[in-house]
């Protein structure tokens, strides 16, 4: 009986393999260059699993940009963001599927780990890639075709320490770090260096992993006498830690980084708990300018909540690519190599103003040059802190 099952399974296997290669081979001849009428933008991000919300935000932001660009009638884009489940192995599979699909330009991956796993494949194959939110400096170090839209982790740590010291928010800092997350450890490390230089005292650091991110001993920070609690984390953990502190009746200054963005958008949240929280972000959906407002409205119509900086990063990457392509006179029937050459040339001089910054430029390493902004939450709304 088992044998029969094996036979059945193998038939299924062959069928699905055939289906798989069949789906791919349709576009096979276009693997290295697309003779079609659209520019194909590929990328991957976590659309399922614990990190899904970041991937979904970037994907939705990018979709809005593509819809807007296609409505202009000029260069036409086609977007394909695959699900990499925040896993390097799956990201490599996604990359392969994207090349089968005939990708011309790439948004790399949403998160750092997968970006690192595929960056050198992009570099080898000569495909231009710009990660919207992979913030580790190691990513763009993988090659000169790899660019970045968001701040690097070290920049955020430095900016946070500088701001605390300059504004005199306090001198004793306690850090909560997620030790299995390279984003968190990266920001925390640079923060500690800069804090020492600026005369801030790190009175303690609590390290946790995603496996034990439930119970936070907030009393440790309280005992250490910390005036500032620095949170280089994403907003779910931020929310839990701030609640744990407040449950003890302990109210220090909370200072988050760009991962905090989105905390106010969680359904059911009592915004009063975030009163007075500082955080770094390149984007605030409540900003009064017209571009942000129109983006926020479109995003709301799609997902039913306000966009965070991930969505804005996704939107900006598509527009930066669009601006570079139109400035370089690209057409949709160019090959990947030609498009890549245009991008490499244009990004030397490109000056792009988008949702996440004014007058952004890129240096030769592929890093974006823009200043982090500090925001403060006052009566449930974001206010630019001076």
């Amino acid at each position: 009986m088992k044998k029969l099952l094996v036979v059945l399974l193998s038939v299924l296997c062959v069928l699905s393999l055939a289906g798989c290669s069949g789906g791919g081979s349709g576009d096979d001849n276009t693997g290295t260059g697309d003779g079609g009428t659209v520019v194909k933008i590929g990328g991957s991000g976590p659309l399922t699993g614990p990190a899904a919300q970041y991937g979904i935000a970037v994907k939705t932001g990018a979709e809005i940009a593509v819809e807007e660009i296609n409505a202009l009638g000029g260069l036409q884009f086609e977007l394909n963001i695959l699900d990499d489940e925040h896993d390097g192995e799956k990201a490599v599979n996604c990359y392969a599927q994207l090349t089968d699909w005939g990708m011309d330009v790439s948004m790399l991956c949403v998160t750092t780990g997968p970006s690192l796993a595929v960056a050198d494949m992009y570099q080898e194959d000569g495909v231009f890639a710009m990660t919207p939110s992979g913030s580790s400096p190691d990513i763009i170090a993988k090659g000169d075709h790899i660019f970045r839209m968001c701040f690097a982790d070290p920049e955020q740590g430095v900016a946070a320490a500088d701001y605390m010291a300059e504004k005199g928010l306090g001198t004793k800092v306690f850090i909560f770090t997620k030790s299995d997350d390279e984003y968190s450890t990266g920001v925390a490390a640079s923060f500690k260096n800069e804090a020492a230089a600026k005369g801030l005292e790190v009175v303690g650091e609590y390290l946790f992993t995603s496996d034990n991110a439930t119970d936070f001993p907030a009393a440790q920070a309280q005992e250490a006498g910390a005036e500032i609690v620095f949170l280089p984390l994403y907003y779910e953990d931020d929310t839990k830690i701030i609640k744990a502190c407040q449950d003890l009746g302990y109210n220090p200054v909370f200072f988050g980084v760009d991962g905090f963005d989105g905390a106010l958008e969680q359904e059911g949240v009592d915004v009063a708990m975030f009163e007075g929280v500082y955080y770094l972000t390149p984007f605030a959906y409540s900003a009064p300018d017209e571009a942000t407002q129109s983006f926020t409205a479109k995003f709301n119509a799609k997902l039913g909540n306000n966009p965070n900086q991930f969505a804005a990063d996704g939107y900006d990457v598509v527009y930066a690519i669009y601006n570079a392509l139109t400035a370089g006179g690209a057409t949709a029937d160019m090959t990947t190599e030609e498009l890549n050459a245009i991008m490499m040339e244009q990004f030397k001089t490109l000056n792009y103003s988008g949702l996440t910054g004014e007058g952004m430029t890129w240096d030769a390493s592929g890093a974006v040059v823009k200043a982090p902004l500090v925001f403060r939450i006052e009566s449930g709304a974001l206010v630019a802190a001076d």
Partner: protein
Amino acid sequence: MKFLSYLISGIRLGSIYAIIALGYTMVYGIAKMLNFAHGDVIMIGAYVAFFALYRAGFPLVAALLASVAVCTILGITIEKLAYKPLRSATSLAVLITAIGVSYFLQNAALLLWGSTSKIFPTILDYGFIELFGGELKISYQILITIATCIVIMVCLTLFVNKTRMGKAMRACSEDKDAARLMGINVNSVISLTFAIGSGLAAVASVLLCATYPTVTPTLGSMPGIKAFTAAVLGGIGSIPGAFLGGLLLGIIEVIAKVYISSELTDAIVFSVLVLVLLFKPTGLLGRKTSEKV
């Protein structure tokens, strides 16, 4: 004094583990299967309670009852659809099916309710009691969590030991065939076990989210694994064992975090488990089974 306050938060975490572990242990005791979907039933319970409290504006008790009702029905449905057809299959086949159910629930939640976390409303905010002249503050929420756990433990023990249905359960866990010959409806006993386990999962979900307020589709997986570990630590199949194992695991986790090394907490927690099993191969309160030829 500080140690005492950490100990208390360890007991709070442990109480929640204990309630979840009770669900694992009861199902294991009767159906002899590891129900890996249990953690995801907790997640569903958390979402139901959230919607009842926040969107529908139910009072706490009504929301809790709604959550318990949905989870109980869900537990029975899963059992009838996915596990019952496999009653005569190997335990591994059931294990894989349970994993399939777990994937299904997680991804269904992701599709239905999205990936953005939802924040559980504050429900048990009654302030603190102060002991030792204000040196030790214990919130009523912690006391309620611990008290709930103890009440559940006592009720469950009484139910299993004193009632007719409890007797039937014990009979089934000893020997299903013999129980059937005695006129016990084994299927309905198993269904009842799943119902109780899932109902407890709903209670655990409300307590869990009252303390750690973020509700996401993967909310249940880690507490699920930890509670499963707790059930084994205490001796799987034993109700007092689950209680003891849960408490111990919670306390060890919090104390190890604060006093030994926060980076290595998980390694420490699981090393304790391995050490305990080295000396007590069937867990702390597990029954020794002697093999027969």
